[in-house]
């Protein structure tokens, strides 16, 4: 007996949520604001307006692996990432910040923001250690929720982006077509 794979069952079990079904921009902004107040300082505000990132950018991110799998990515100009790190380290900031200082502080912000976002998503899921560098690519524009903010006049984006490519769009099987 042969059975025809209609794709029906496969699509059913492969069904996975995209991030826009799970979280919205307002929630991401609220999470980021709370992290900023706690880590950066009580008077630090994030203004939700889009503005263009400079050419020299740096990202920090954590990966979330679970029912939804992807990354929580913070991206800003390199100079802003340094200023942010300095704000975190306050009096213990060295006169000259090296890459490790920036990776540590900017990474920890991603860790805290990412942890809170993970908690707002269906679980259980794991959280990676933070990474700093060039952001992971956006694999699926439909699995992306992005918030643009301005901090101390400088642009910064928070992108919650899926790690998986879009599922193939089911096409009707030729075999089942009746020639006209």
């Amino acid at each position: 007996m042969t059975s025809t794979d209609t794709g029906q069952r496969r699509r059913g079990s492969d069904a996975r949520p995209v991030i826009t079904e799970l979280i919205d921009e307002m929630t991401i902004l609220a999470i980021a604001e709370e992290a900023w107040v706690s880590l950066v300082g009580e008077d630090e505000v994030l203004v939700p307006i889009p503005s263009e990132l400079p050419g020299d950018i740096l990202s920090s991110w954590v990966d979330v692996v679970g029912p939804w799998t992807g990354s929580v990515v913070l991206t800003t100009g390199r100079a802003t990432a340094e200023e942010l790190s300095r704000a975190l380290l306050r009096e213990s900031a060295p006169e000259l910040l090296d890459d490790e200082d920036v990776a540590d502080a900017f990474g920890e912000i991603a860790n805290v923001v990412g942890g809170s976002i993970k908690a707002a998503l269906p679980g259980p899921s794991g959280l990676s250690l933070p990474q700093v560098g060039n952001a992971p690519l956006v694999r699926n524009a439909g699995d992306l929720c992005r918030v643009d903010v301005v901090w101390r006049g400088e642009p910064l984006t928070i992108s919650v982006q899926g790690a998986l490519p879009p599922l193939p769009v089911p096409t009707p099987s030729r075999e089942n077509e009746v020639p006209l």
Binding site: D101, K118, G123, P124
Partner: protein
């Protein structure tokens, strides 16, 4: 009172150390669980350990388990200070022997309140 702050982020160690120092604690810090155990093995056993969850080399959960296996360290209070806010993870930490948890991000006031609940505010601050 003494506290050991364990976190892989230097920025986070600075924040937690600042809060505890302001409350009158004598603080040492460690970059991961293994370094934390080194401090304990030196004989510097604190009243409180604040422990990050996500760390390289030895994570917070492994540190808590290691501490619980040594009776000499029994009187030390362990508080997870972590971005792991999922209920199941918190239950795992408590089951492993942690006494309390604090979710990042937190404020200095929230930290102080938690220590007050644990009876771990140095006397001059508690009065």
């Amino acid at each position: 009172m003494r506290a050991l702050v364990i976190d892989d982020s230097r920025a986070m160690r600075r924040i937690v150390t600042g809060i505890l120092t302001n409350l009158g604690y004598e603080v040492r810090d460690a970059g991961h669980g293994g370094e934390g155990l080194d401090v304990l093995n030196e004989g510097w056993v604190p009243d409180l350990a604040t422990i990050d969850w996500n760390m390289p080399v030895m994570d917070g959960l492994q540190f808590v388990s290691a501490v619980r296996s040594n009776p000499a360290w029994r009187r030390m209070t362990m508080m997870m200070v972590t971005s792991e806010s999922e209920h199941t993870q918190i239950v795992r930490a408590l089951a492993a022997g942690a006494h309390e948890y604090m979710i990042k991000p937190f404020t200095a006031d929230a930290f102080r309140d938690k220590l007050a609940l644990l009876g771990l505010l140095p006397q001059e601050v508690a009065l």
